[in-house]
Symmetry: C2
Subunit: 406 residues, 2 copies
């Protein structure tokens, strides 16, 4: 029914923000909702209409809305849809529409824990073959559980934030230990999942209760310094090679807008899966991602090629009793398809021959099928690489950037 609706605010055919989408973001005016080329200042509109949701939508952050749970999410979405489709309400609502381009958007979440998975078999195999030449490309645990690790929540930044080339330590080709600006700055095309309803310590979230806890999705660029990462990551995993910045798109697309995009994932229906990872209804997503660097399309990864779904990630992440909190973010890991022009990182795309230069602009966007032939867009996550700067304490008096290898 929603599919057939059209909005009175004009929406171009094929717009990534039809009324069937209605993603949320946070601006200096509070919560905004995208429709076509406009953003609705949701709290002010709710106030003008005397909506019972004026309190939730009038907050300065999404936290209360995220925590409110599926019934409230559906009720708020129902009302937003009505406000933007019923011509009789136009006089009350229209004053609260602003041009979407002019709205400065901030980080949509106060992120508690940030977890990054590794859910693309194509990505895991390509990296495995590069990192362990002659060995097994895929490690033995990979098909039994969604491999993941905790990332740094404090350095998650909103799209548009400049990403400064980080300094770091690694061992160069001659065996020297150096401390210098990374020479292998990479990106990773990922999708992020935003937790709404918290769980309880000691209470795992079953795989089929994904929709009770997760509110929506966004785009993620997991910037990676490959030289730093390769040297530091044994035996405890990535740390400073990733923690300098992780960019997210400002718009959070609610799961309710993605029902037409649900597809099986690589692991769907596999008999070999442990029961806690078996989905009744798969939560793979038919997202067509696009990676552009300086305007050139470098890859079109398809999220439907992933092996693990976000519902499996959530079930696994909480299987030991770990809780999730409102605002927690977990990301898919690099989305890479079987072909090189579907690879979601430069190390895969160019086999280690090309990385990011200062000034490069990286833009990731995504589209999904919506109801009635509409297109659901995730917007984009954008970042420009800024040149490294030297800081006090990096070199000290000695100006001594190398030390002997053992």
């Amino acid at each position: 029914v929603v599919a057939a609706l059209s909005s009175w605010p004009p929406v171009e055919p094929g717009s990534p923000f039809p009324i069937a989408n209605l993603p949320y973001a946070v601006s200096t005016d509070g919560i905004v909702v995208a429709v076509g080329d406009h953003a609705l200042v949701a709290g002010a509109a709710a106030e003008a209409l005397g909506s019972p949701h004026a309190g939730l939508l009038g907050q300065a952050t999404l936290a209360d809305l995220l925590a409110a749970g599926p019934q409230t999410w559906a009720a708020v979405r129902h009302d937003l849809t009505r406000w933007l489709s019923d011509p009789a309400l136009r006089p009350s609502v229209e004053p609260h529409l602003v041009p979407r381009d002019g709205v400065p958007l901030s980080l949509p979440l106060a992120i508690g824990d940030y977890v990054d998975f590794y859910a693309s078999e194509h990505h895991a195999r390509r990296l495995g073959a590069m990192l362990r030449p002659g060995g097994e490309a895929l490690l033995p645990n990979w098909r039994h559980l969604p491999v993941g690790y905790h990332g740094r929540s404090g350095t998650v930044v909103v799209s548009g934030t400049a990403v400064r080339r980080p300094w770091g330590q690694w061992r160069d080709a001659d065996g020297k230990i150096v401390f210098a600006p990374t020479r292998r700055l990479d990106l990773e095309v990922e999708v992020g999942f935003v937790v709404g309803v918290p769980s309880t310590l000691g209470q795992p979230v079953p795989v089929d209760e994904f929709e009770r806890h997760v509110f929506g999705i966004c785009l993620v660029n997991d910037w990676s310094a490959r030289d730093i990462q390769a040297w530091e990551a044994q035996p405890l995993g990535p740390f400073l090679g990733k923690s300098f910045a992780t960019s997210v798109s400002p718009w959070v697309v609610p799961l309710a807008a993605l029902m037409q995009a649900r597809v099986p994932v690589g692991s769907s229906g596999g008999d070999e899966l442990l029961p806690y990872l078996r989905e009744r209804e798969p939560w793979g997503l038919d997202l067509a991602l696009e990676l552009r660097v300086n305007g050139e399309v470098l890859a079109r990864p398809a999220y439907r090629s992933m092996h693990w779904s976000p519902a499996q990630m959530l079930a696994h992440m909480t299987a030991n009793g770990a809780l999730v909190r409102t605002g927690d973010l977990f990301a898919s890991g690099t989305v890479s398809g079987p072909e090189l022009d579907e690879a979601g990182s430069l190390i895969e795309r160019f086999g280690g021959d090309r990385y990011l230069a200062d000034g490069d602009e990286v833009v990731i966007s995504a589209l999904a099928p919506g109801p009635g032939g509409t297109t659901i867009g995730l917007g984009e996550v954008r970042g420009v690489v800024a040149a490294a700067v030297e800081h006090p304490g990096h070199a000290r008096a000695e100006d001594h950037h190398q030390s002997k290898s053992p």
Copy 2:
């Protein structure tokens, strides 16, 4: 000067909480400060004395005090010392002293990012020898940087919280992939460092600016499920084997109480260190830790045997421009000395032959030298292992706990 002071509240000789300590915790009455067997309800006392710090000390959490910075930390500590040592103030202050044992203490921090290091060479070598028999015990990066990884901040719990035996996935000795309660539940004796003053994205914290950012220290038990950890950790490090619970002591001992405990660490003065990791004044700590399980002392790890100092950890963690936030917690990793009865984990202590049973009580405590022959105590971090419970979604209809190995 402070060293010579004695408090009018009675303090037994050798008490871990002399007036030279004055650690902070958070109770239902707000911020409390330990002295002898008492706790001062700091906000109420400050109010009664018309102190300019009544606002900071009257908060429900330590956040504002932590963020206020070294000058304020010193001023507040100076006043607390005066209130508890000047007999003329006793009539105003005494009504706000309560028995320390009766005060229910909560988590002292809202933790942003939680990072765990791996800073004991003895621990790293013992684990390396067990995990890579025949290979190098110490990986090549270990002596060049403090190896660390991000842990889960949402499951950091205060001392006294029961720790439920987690379920998890691993490969058993026959190669079967099982999902069951861990059979190798371990503990790790660690020291935690609490960030007060935040840093700025893109601005590393030099190694000699540790005291400008870090407020104090606490005890940490990094509970670990070794079977889950061993199976999951390739290639991205520990995840569910650690994320079910991390216990911390309620008392945060300010750095100002630890000046007599400062000692060099293993890496101090090493020419081979890169300049950003070279301390002018070392921040190793002479902490005598004690591990008891069911009342039996199993180990006495000495923190002075660590290779990396917390100042080096902070400098490294921010060398890529990553920021730290008020309430961030970073832990040392397992503190283990050269002898087996100095080993801070059961896998080291008993070579894998003994782990924790349900009902086991684990208590970690620590003492440091204070001024004038006093002893500075960190209090304790305590936890009892609760039996695993099965949850919906773990088994599903099939009651099927095993799957075939590939």
